[in-house]
């Protein structure tokens, strides 16, 4: 069942990775090509995208109207410091990304998105919602790890990031009122959804380009 697996993963991951970023040499039971790791990472993004649909629906209902209305199409408020990393990118620029840059962009994005999602956790209403969020965060942590694994296996350095989840959003001012706070949450979920769509395309490109002969260590992650 998802509950059992997710708490198992969560515990394992917490124990292994309190402070990032270097991947420990855990469970070197098998050696697989980087191609396989990329495939697994790709599969994870698809799984997360599917999970997010349910989570977002539940969370937006919790926020209430107008956030849960299907036509809701608010203008993007320009913040001094963009709160979450955006997946939006110029087409030619995206095409021209090196493998390293492509992976690093994904790694950074999901690391920060995970931080902000965790901040949601303490504030939401129902137990069911908190449980779903926790499950999703565990899976998202797995994705970050998986991307890190691919980068390490290809010899790329992991991007520096916050060593531990920050107490508050770094640099960005806290939302001045309840409605704007909800808007922040809305955009967080939107960016997360868009990143998951983009990652599928990023990893498609990587699948084609990475030579199959590269050897890597695989983390033993049970049944995502």
């Amino acid at each position: 069942s998802p509950t059992g697996d997710s708490w198992g993963i969560f515990t394992f991951l917490c124990a292994a990775l309190c402070n990032l970023p270097a991947l420990p040499a855990l469970n070197c039971s098998e050696e697989l090509g980087a191609g396989q790791s990329i495939q697994q990472t790709y599969d994870l993004t698809r799984y997360l995208e599917h999970q997010l649909r349910t989570l977002a629906g539940t969370y937006l209902n919790y926020l209430g109207p107008p956030f849960n209305e299907p036509d809701f199409n608010p203008p993007r408020l320009v913040r001094a410091e963009p709160r979450v990393p955006s997946a939006t990118v110029d087409l030619d620029l995206w095409r021209g990304l090196t493998d390293n840059a492509r992976l690093a962009a994904n790694y950074r994005a999901y690391s920060r998105l995970l931080c902000y999602l965790r901040l949601l956790d303490g504030q939401v209403g129902t137990a069911e919602l908190r449980h779903r969020l926790a499950h999703f965060c565990a899976s998202l942590q797995g994705l970050v790890l998986s991307i890190g694994g691919v980068m390490s296996s290809l010899g790329y350095p992991l991007p520096a990031g916050p060593a531990a989840p920050p107490a508050g959003p770094p640099g960005a001012p806290a939302a001045p009122n309840d409605f704007l706070k909800k808007m922040d949450d809305f955009w967080l979920l939107k960016e997360l959804q868009t990143w998951l769509w983009r990652s599928a395309k990023d990893f498609n490109r990587l699948k084609k380009k990475v030579p199959p002969a590269v050897v890597t260590l695989r983390l033993e992650a049970r049944g995502f």
């Binding site: 993007r76 997946a87 939006t88 110029d90 087409l91 868009t194 769509w197 599928a200 498609n204």
Partner: protein, 335 residues
């Protein structure tokens, strides 16, 4: 003077003979044919509850001199109903196109204006020469979180109407159907058909944006389709075709991750390879079993049991019939 006049279907139309007085003596014609005086009120022409057939050239002549005093081209029509608008990206990630039409004709000229807003930005949708009622847009950015809002306004001399579509970049991705679908029999394989196809030519970058495919096939004599989903490659071998039966085969495409399935491709027909000449008993037994069930794994075993040379005397026939009954009973479970 001559001009064009637009009126709604069902309206009452009063036409004045230019600047002539009400009590002047005039003659009206419609497309050259005199109009009966019963339609006149003084020098005014009254048309009640006009219909489409009354469109035409109306002329008014002074009574005695037959000078042409006034001429108008009457066009009877309707104001536009809400237009039907569709937007689709069949060439992701290049951009998308929108096409539109009116649900019912207005019978008078209409003009269309389309606007596309992305966040705060106005985008230009370039009109296509062919087909008309279609325009296309290039994406400037990819993986956008902000929706696109497309508004189509239709205007004609009798009124206007509009419709709006709002969508995410990913939601409208729908490729064109696969092209060049070919199905061929496989020599010496009576149950196989080799199907191959190509990516739709409108899909610009199948390397970075791979397509997956859905194949469906059935023998012409059955209604139920078999389905196969293929995550890569542009060919597939069907291995469970009924021997000797003509098949109809279609393929659809979808971006691997986003959007919706294309329409089905043009259907191709093919029949698996058969040995020449055909055995009549084999034919009859296959027909019997295919009509008894819609499951795909029924046909051959019965044939083999009964077909082999050792059909001598009632003992072997009993085996035949028993096997047939068992198969028939089994197949009833699947109906």
């Amino acid at each position: 003077e001559s001009h064009t006049q637009y009126e709604r279907v069902g309206a009452d139309v009063t036409m004045k003979c230019g600047s002539m007085d009400w009590d002047a003596a005039v003659t009206w014609t419609a497309n050259g044919t005199d109009i009966d005086e019963s339609h006149l009120n003084g020098s005014y022409l009254i048309l009640k509850n006009v219909d489409l057939s009354q469109s035409g050239q109306y002329s008014c002549y002074e009574g005695s001199s037959w000078h042409l005093k006034y001429q108008t081209n009457l066009r009877v029509g309707t104001p536009p109903k809400e237009p039907v608008l569709m937007c689709r990206s069949n060439n992701y990630p290049k951009g998308f196109y929108c096409s539109w039409h009116l649900p019912t004709p207005t019978y008078i000229p209409n003009s269309f204006n389309i606007s596309v807003i992305h966040g705060t930005k106005d985008m230009v949708c370039e009109k296509d020469a062919v087909p008309k009622n279609r325009c296309h847009i290039r994406y400037l950015q990819l993986f956008s979180t902000v929706k696109y809002k497309v508004t189509l306004t239709v205007t004609n001399p009798l009124g206007k109407n509009f419709t709006t579509l709002t969508f995410d970049e990913f939601a409208i991705v729908k490729p064109d159907p696969p092209e060049s679908v070919v199905a061929k029999p496989v020599p010496n394989n009576p149950r196989r058909l080799e199907v191959s196809w190509q990516n739709p030519s409108s899909w610009p970058d199948p390397e970075s944006f791979p397509l997956k495919f859905f194949l469906r096939y059935r023998p012409l004599i059955l209604d139920q389709w078999q389905h196969v989903e293929l995550s890569d490659g542009t060919s597939h071998t069907i291995t469970d075709a009924y021997a000797g039966k003509e098949y109809i085969i279609q393929v659809a495409a979808k971006d691997n991750d986003i959007g919706t399935w294309s329409d089905w491709s043009v259907a191709v027909h093919a029949t698996p390879w058969t040995e020449e000449p055909k055995h009549l008993t084999t034919e009859a037994q296959i027909t019997e079993t295919t009509s008894a069930s819609t499951s795909s794994f029924m046909a051959p075993p019965t044939t083999k049991i009964c077909d082999k040379g050792a059909v001598v005397g009632s003992g072997a026939m009993a085996v035949c019939w028993t096997a047939g009954l068992v198969v028939a009973a089994y197949s009833v479970l699947f109906i």
